[in-house]
Symmetry: C2
Subunit: 399 residues, 2 copies
């Protein structure tokens, strides 16, 4: 049976990474062989490349409502997060060494903060509630005189919950503490504006909104000191060395432009598909728990824990049926431990093991969702029949 072709190919893992849109690839193509100069070069080849990345900078700035010159291009969202946490903290070390993050941050924030902790910084990790929400009061209560940086993600890629960033922004601003948000999972998917959010720095990644892999950016408010992660050239105002990845930057710019333009229609389409899944899956499979906030969540994101079985086994059997989804975050899914996000939300370890994350994108339609709703229940049933946990549950139920 292993070699039988699946009836359908359904990619529902857009949060792991997106394909690039046709218009994005088209925009990138001239920059591989035709307009191939180094943007730092003093000749026509360099000028053309430089103009291209400055246009992309504008496109990204429009998407997040920032000034153009405040955007630092990076090679990924993870790099942007590392640059933010380490670069902002090191820039303020004279003022203090206390940092606040939440327990459900992406590892590129959480582990970067842990690295700083080992180097002598102090770290407070604030908890979240059962929906994955940070309580702004927790931030207010934990800010001290030596607090230099708060970093709370805009939306969580594993459970879809959107944080009250604007509220936290006000608290940080009143306390005169820098505020960074990891908006990798939300930029391009929902409207956001750095000024309305009241943040000082924001990370994003192109391959979360149909730009290419290898593209990311950190926006940093003017006059905020940022110590570079890497030394070298004068690129990105001395904040990020290395020959600029012109094609990737151009691609992210185009993707940003399209995201801004198509956002209302994408949100409308995706949230309908999401709701079909959120309604359909627990109806088709008992003991299925929606994870994350029921309403305050990303429009293209549906995440569940399916009790008594393991996510990994479901992924493998869904793959045989041509369905691609995640369990836990993309970066850690190969090393399947229970997600730190679900654990922080108070979900018991054995239930957290059965997590499934569906992320919806431009190529999906209702038939994709219905295909999942058809194929997943028998998979779950089969796995539960092999599950000692399920046998125990049934036995106890029968009493």
């Amino acid at each position: 049976m292993g070699n039988v072709k699946p009836e359908r190919k359904v990619y529902l893992d857009y949060f792991a990474t997106t394909p690039v849109l046709p218009e994005v690839l088209e925009a990138m193509l001239p920059y591989f062989r035709e307009i191939y100069g180094n943007p730092q070069s003093m000749h026509a080849w360099g000028d053309e490349a430089r103009e291209a990345i400055e246009k992309a900078r504008e496109q990204v700035a429009v998407l997040i409502g920032s000034s153009v010159e405040e955007i630092v291009f990076t090679s990924s969202g993870s790099e942007a997060n590392n640059l933010a946490i380490k670069g902002l903290a090191q820039g303020l070390v004279a003022k203090g060494k206390h940092i606040i993050v939440s327990a459900i941050e992406h590892f590129s924030v959480l582990h970067a903060a842990r690295t700083l902790e080992k180097a002598g910084f102090e770290l407070t990790v604030v908890p979240v509630d059962k929906y994955g929400l940070v309580d702004p009061n927790e931030i207010a209560q934990n800010i001290r005189k030596d607090t230099i940086l708060v970093s709370i993600m805009h939306a969580n890629g594993e459970v879809g919950t959107i944080q009250p960033i604007a509220e936290i922004g006000k608290i940080a601003r009143n306390a005169e503490v820098l505020f960074h948000t990891d908006a990798v999972a939300s930029t391009g998917n929902i409207p956001l504006d750095v000024n309305k959010l009241g943040v000082d720095a924001l990370s994003l990644a192109g391959n979360q909104f149909y730009g290419p892999k290898g593209s990311g950016a950190l926006w940093v408010r003017k006059k905020v000191r940022l110590v570079p992660l890497m030394d070298g050239g004068v690129q990105e105002n001395g904040r990020r060395p290395g020959t600029e990845n012109v094609a990737a930057i151009v691609g992210m710019g185009k993707a940003a432009e399209l995201a801004a333009k198509d956002m209302p229609s994408r949100i409308s389409k995706f949230s309908q598909l999401r709701d079909r899944l959120i309604k359909g899956l627990p109806a088709a499979i008992d003991h299925t728990i929606l994870t994350g906030h029921p309403t305050q969540r990303l429009p293209n994101h549906a995440s569940f824990c399916i009790e008594f079985i393991e996510g990994e086994a479901m992924l493998l059997m869904l793959n045989i049926q041509g369905i691609a989804v995640s369990s836990g975050s993309a970066c850690t899914s190969k090393a399947l431990k229970a997600s730190h996000v679900l654990i922080a939300m108070g979900i018991p370890h054995e239930i957290a093991q059965g997590s499934l994350l569906f992320s919806i994108g431009v190529d999906n339609n209702e038939a994709d969702i219905d295909y999942v709703l058809e194929k997943l229940p028998p998979i779950v049933e089969r796995l539960r029949q092999m599950s000692p946990l399920y046998a125990k549950f049934l036995k106890e139920k029968r009493g």
Copy 2:
């Protein structure tokens, strides 16, 4: 005259960056919209992407004679250098804090070492001779008990000089000191083998040998501890987080394969064009000095100082004639200071200002070189007529 089209377009700035070869672009194309999975994902989309980057890892390993699993993909040569210097030094901090580099390293090595120096490491910067050569004895004499790392570049991108890396490698090995070489300017241009060179780590960049911008790698010998620059995911064995830039990695792999295959013919063609320039330019323009070693130099590299004038002015006037070259390194050329490389070689500041760097590539031919030999002399003549330095020289000569 500014809008008159030049007779010819001649790109002689391949060291600033290369275009990608047609075969490289072709290899990359499927990875934008067709095979777009995240290599860390547990499904067919992820498997295909993972297989693609592992194939590329093999292609790069073949080019440098290394084991496959020792290669860490990065986003650029500059990132590879930063990862090497900071990551290797921090991995050995228990043993000592002394680092040796040369005075002509790329800023991504030199400034990374300076950053470590500010953080409490000790730095010895060894000099070079008038050809830009490091004396291996200098390394031997400067190694101390607490020396943990030596980093000497394989070939210099500004003056083309190739260092005696294998000799330095023996010295480092005998002293049990880690040895890194920045081979960004040489990998893919001349044969090299990490074992014959006797190095423990080697940096390379895909866009120096017709791979895409945004591709680079650090090779690190097995069992050598490397502290990552960035925290986050499990990618690259935990050494470099962030979703892998699959298309760029695939492109660099293909470019590595082509470089290995075509190296003899490229070297033969390029060195003929180089020699035509090295012979022709000083014959056509008096007071022209070849910089770098006369024979121990890269086959596709010719660099000069043209006395009494400034490189920047020549670049601008060459650009009007459709000719692209560099003055100083690509990363610093926009901020035209005299090159630290030329100064370290003992070239006086006012002569170093007039540096020109021609780097030759696959699209060049003899007519390109002859076009330069035709167009540059009148430019130099015109600039010298405006030069107070030249007036002074003529006056003194007439005496």
